[in-house]
Symmetry: C2
Subunit: 395 residues, 2 copies
Amino acid sequence: MRQDDDVKTADFTDVRATNLAVVLRHLRANGPSSRAAIAASTGLNKATVSSLTSDLIGQRLLRETGLTGNRIGRPATELALDGSAYAAIGLQVAADRLTALAVDFAGEQLLLWHRAVRADRAGTAITALAQRAASRVRQQGRHVLGLTVAVPGLVADGGTVRLSPPLGWADLDLRGLLSGSLRQSGLTVAVANHAVLAAVAEQRHGGHPGGANLTYVTGAAGVEAGLVVDGRPLAGAHGFTGQIGRFTLGPAGAPTLQDLAGVEPLVRRALPDFDPESLGDLSPAVEQVAVQARAGDAATLQALRDTGCHLGQGLALLANLVNPELIVLGDHYAALAEWLIPAAETELARHTLAPEAGGARLIASRLGLHAAALGGAVTHLDRVDTGDLSRLAHA
Amino acid sequence: MRQDDDVKTADFTDVRATNLAVVLRHLRANGPSSRAAIAASTGLNKATVSSLTSDLIGQRLLRETGLTGNRIGRPATELALDGSAYAAIGLQVAADRLTALAVDFAGEQLLLWHRAVRADRAGTAITALAQRAASRVRQQGRHVLGLTVAVPGLVADGGTVRLSPPLGWADLDLRGLLSGSLRQSGLTVAVANHAVLAAVAEQRHGGHPGGANLTYVTGAAGVEAGLVVDGRPLAGAHGFTGQIGRFTLGPAGAPTLQDLAGVEPLVRRALPDFDPESLGDLSPAVEQVAVQARAGDAATLQALRDTGCHLGQGLALLANLVNPELIVLGDHYAALAEWLIPAAETELARHTLAPEAGGARLIASRLGLHAAALGGAVTHLDRVDTGDLSRLAHA
């Protein structure tokens, strides 16, 4: 197996795919450039660049943007990423609602929808929402490259939800299910863990340097981490990674990190008379906690400090094991970051063997509550950035 | 940077290197084969295989082993890995002693030496031992491809020991130091964490399937883990990974995994009247603990059960985060594995969210106390297996 793969990575289609990727990444990183500038900074010769760019223009991934101005010699035509022809959809599943998001290859958000739903009805609701989103995007004249569904818990590589306590799912072949019900609409379907997808979104749209070793921590449905390592999501043997909430040490029945640093325990402590029934969507409760914190409520501030301390211990564990460059506090944690981060940073540094927490910076996400949906869409668009244009032909 | 790399990985030298690697791996995996058999099972055409194999024979990495027997048509010459011309050296540093090991490309161990040493004298002792080992190997008519020094603690990518509590080292540019003192002997020097190198050795010489996601746990000098992920050692942002011993949760001063599951605390508990002074080398004490366990001493067996339980909690944490296929208990843990594993397996399964510990198998290393030295040598030989023959020219 291994050997055949190696042979493939060396054949000539891949040389071209690699070079297509080089051109696309150059333009994504540096903005509009002339063919000559692309050749100069990628090390590819001009004839190759001309052939690659005409391919990409033909595929509507690039467009010519007129002439360059201030330069010596005759002006050259500049090329820019287009990608308005291609889009992808991410669909994020929570215990009480679905979020659908579509983005095009150039990074423009095309739609963001929320739907209330019960987990036991999620299957049909996902299908319906995916179909509506796909036809809306197609009405806008875009090809849909694929759909990725983001769920909390353990998702096996094949797209089976092995175990999702927040959704009450076990051994559910969600990918198979949706591929069947969406066959008519011709959508390519993938399923992945929401924290992993959120980490991918932070890497591409979070606007932080140092994304090659990035960890995203979600508190939306239990505490989970999405690990990007050497630039790629960490899958492990079967895709069951990032379950930091289970972290415990000591006698049987000792509390887990989730018990000590979870968002729901924090809410219950800061809002004693909060209605447990309404804990499906934590957002209003989290906003109320923030309001009390801003008002200087002592009990709320203490609860936030304690949560931050324990979260910091969990992050130290992560930093000691995988040495991330960047730890991004996501969703509800981001909304409370100004109170959580000071305590968390102290514990992170105290419990990490490497000085300055091994160089890990702790920051709040700016991508809001639907980072996983964005990441789900991005995974399909990233395939194009690697020079894999095979899907475009079918699109 | 990224882009230039991609261009490189696609150029033609790399196509050839990749194909050289394919041939070498085929022979390592399948043993002696004819050129036709290599072509058939690698997908390379016969002309390419002939040209690649004559290169490799010229480099003394392959040799012809006479004719194949029972097959239709005229008999063909078989080729086998040779590699007796090339060797590499691993040097393992502990608080009280050095271990030097040399192995050739075909996997034969050429020497295994131990020297007593004090950490404050380690620098000169390492240089002297490396020089003696290199000249011994050269006397045997081998080229030495390189030397890797294995140390406990944090080693930065450049080979600087950032922090090694067991050795009492901080910010020591060990690689620079040794490169200077070994310049005459023309040795290429690398420095890496001992658990990471032991994991590499397990991957290549441990004889387990499923080495692509493997974790090696050492108890030789504190509790550290060497993580191999998707077939490669996990470096993280700066190389500071696998520090599982720091793992703690709860109020300030709560015990760490190292306090609860370390080998030294176990020894102190099982052998109350053991001389703490002699704790530099734990081997005799560990052997005494094993003797008492075999004799059925209740206190010793209880101490082993407790250590196993806490170790299992630490491994569950690892399994929840990086989902290894294989967890290898190394060095002193391996010597006590028959008593540690039952309790550790129970806790590992109990605290891992994924069923059956996410598929992680817990086993004892068969590579003994010098796995890290072996791994140090292997890292240099692995570069040849990837088709990188550049060093051979200089060798």
